[in-house]
């Protein structure tokens, strides 16, 4: 399954004086990245909601694919596992991990979502272990499907709701899943499929992309009220920034209405 270790720590922390929550903002940003007539390998939690939001707004023909075998379902309500029956409800196909992962490896899947305990400047992530692998301080679940997503999907989107110097690390304890590894060409040299890799990182502070020349993380937009100093103060590694940094578009009323429709009980989004 797509590692989403952080997503169980769900809190309803509204931004100061703003009507929307962090989770809503992040979800809306993620949703807008998903183009119509493309495919996305979906995890549970926010990625699920973002994908459903995309389908109900600008991308009605977005194909949702689940690593356990569900393809193109009509999701009746939020699944709690990427294998539960809601992931293949009225699906076009209820098939196997072999089939879905083969499609990923063969190049059929455009977007993949990842979360992580920690991430570095190149979008490599750790979901395996904090501390030493042989004698871990904290043992995390491991790759699950994360390495597969990061290896195969054309564009990987990271959702990190707790950006800090503890999660944006200069050096990871363990690289579970490849980002741009060590810079341009490193993925190809290592043997990964060509031309794919990290695309966006969405945190509670900002949206990031990766610099074309260095493949290091750079700011794409700052969430309302957040400064470049805030961003840098919450990262061990330096984050690049263009001369002019736009502000992230907040959730629209229509987006918020759809989010309440998708997660009426606030199971993931909080309330």
């Amino acid at each position: 399954m797509i590692a989403q270790q952080d997503s169980h720590k769900i809190e309803a922390r509204p931004f100061a004086k703003q009507e929307y929550t962090q989770a809503e903002l992040i979800t809306c940003v993620a949703s807008r990245l998903l183009e119509d007539n493309r495919s996305v390998l979906v995890g549970t939690g926010l990625p699920m909601i973002a994908s459903m939001l995309a389908q109900r707004s600008h991308a009605p023909n977005l194909l949702l694919v689940f690593e356990a075998g569900g393809i193109g379902p009509r999701i009746p309500e939020l699944p709690v596992s990427v294998g539960d029956s809601r992931t293949f409800y009225k699906a076009v196909a209820a098939t196997s991990m072999h089939d879905v992962m083969s499609a990923c490896q063969a190049g059929y899947i455009d977007y993949g979502f990842l979360g992580a305990a920690a991430l570095d400047a190149y979008g490599n992530i750790n979901t395996t272990v904090i501390g030493d692998w042989e004698h871990p301080k904290v043992r995390l679940p491991g790759s699950g499907g994360a390495n597969d997503v990061g290896s195969f999907c054309w564009r990987t989107i990271f959702i990190m709701r707790n950006q800090s110097t503890r999660t944006f690390q200069s050096k990871l304890d363990f690289i579970t899943t490849p980002g741009w590894i060590s810079g341009p060409g490193a993925r190809e040299r290592s043997g990964l499929p060509h031309g794919c890799g990290p695309y966006r990182v969405i945190t509670q502070l900002a949206v990031y992309g990766f610099d074309e020349h260095t493949k290091r993380m750079q700011v794409v937009s700052l969430h309302p009220g957040v400064t470049l100093e805030d961003v840098q103060a919450n990262s061990e590694f330096p984050i690049l920034a263009p001369a002019h940094v736009p502000v992230t578009e907040p959730p629209s009323p229509e987006e918020r209405r759809l989010l309440r429709e998708i997660d009426p009980r606030g199971i993931v989004l909080g309330r």
Binding site: E67, A68, M97, P136, R139, P141, L192
Partner: protein, 335 residues
């Protein structure tokens, strides 16, 4: 074409469950039934006969979905020790086995976590204390393809993931130069579990089994394994299987034991039949926060019950199960 293929990198993880294909062919010839044999037995007998201490064990289903809980409880009840677990989206299954003291090693694609429900207290504690050793890492797809190689009777499977990561470095895979493209490609070794446990909605007495919804990786996993123990919601006549031969996901010659256990996946979800027992899952997650709590849970629900039917009574019996059926079946899901 060149005379040699360079090996570019070698993972340092322990090689778990690989067998020489010829040695395994000979074992299959000798041990797997090709005739229709009535394989019905109790869960107790299945575990007694087919799950030795130290076995390399894989669990069917996916996370909290269609998990073979009745067999897992029985393994704990019989106090099996030293198991090596295939951590292929191992969630509630492995957490209980670890809590029960049955596990020595894990090869980890996904373990020690419960997806949205958080980390596994029992599993984490055991790894962090050194009680349980993680001997290798890999990804979900890579594990699945290890089973595909096992099913096919070939020694390895080429894959294009894991490159450039510590996941590869701690795996038992190797990386070579593909003789056709000249690019690096990874070979994962075949995996052949000693025993695999799978819960299905229906099968016949011989083990011809049908799964409703996604089979996930059970098709490949079952075929790769030496011993396959099935629990089933219902044993049906083989005529019923033969009326829809295309629906058979696991043929009888793969199967060693057939145990009829209605609600055998409780407290996990059985697609189209019954939902997660969320309060019960949460009870385990709460209790497992301390070793004492985990032991208390196991004393009450596993060691304190003689079999799965007593367990079902203890978790609320017919009323609870009826409620879970209604949740799953009333949501408009199709059969």
């Amino acid at each position: 074409m060149e005379r040699n293929i360079p090996i570019l990198a070698t993972g340092s993880g322990e090689l778990v469950g690989w067998r020489d294909p010829d040695e395994n062919r000979a074992w299959i010839r000798e041990n797997k039934p090709r005739g229709l044999v009535d394989k019905r037995m109790s869960v107790r007998e299945a575990v007694e006969r087919f799950v030795p201490d130290g076995a390399y064990l894989a669990l069917g289903g996916f996370g909290h979905i269609r998990t073979p809980m009745a067999l897992i409880y029985e393994i704990i009840r019989q106090r099996r020790r030293g198991l090596v677990i295939a951590g292929k989206t191992a969630v509630h299954d492995i957490d209980l086995l670890i809590g029960g003291g049955c596990v020595k090693k894990v090869e980890c694609a996904y373990a020690f976590g419960h997806e949205l429900r958080g980390l596994s207290p029992a599993g984490r504690r055991a790894v962090e204390s050194g009680e349980v050793q993680v001997v290798a890492e890999l990804s979900n797809a890579a594990y699945q393809w290890r089973f595909l190689a096992g099913m096919m009777g070939v020694p390895f499977m080429p894959v294009r993931n894991m490159a450039g990561t510590d996941t590869f470095e701690k795996s038992s895979a190797i990386q070579i130069k593909d003789p056709w493209s000249g690019k690096p490609v990874i070979l994962v070794p075949a995996a052949i579990p000693d025993v695999t446990l799978i819960h299905v909605p229906r099968c016949d007495r011989y083990g011809n089994a049908q799964i409703d919804g996604i089979p996930v990786e059970d098709i490949e996993l079952a075929r790769a394994s030496r011993r396959v123990l099935l629990t089933t919601e219902q044993i049906v006549d083989d005529d019923e299987i033969r009326d829809h031969p295309q629906r058979t996901d696991i043929p009888f010659y793969i199967v060693d034991a057939v145990c009829e256990v209605k609600y055998g996946a409780h407290p996990t979800l059985m697609p189209y039949l019954y939902a997660f027992d969320e309060p019960h899952i949460q009870e385990w997650l709460q209790q497992a926060k301390t070793p004492q709590g985990a032991q208390a849970y196991l004393e009450k629900y596993v060691h304190g019950t003689a079999d799965f039917s007593q367990y079902l009574e203890l978790v609320g019996g017919a009323a609870t199960l009826k409620r879970l059926e209604q949740i799953e079946q009333n949501k408009g899901r199709q059969t």
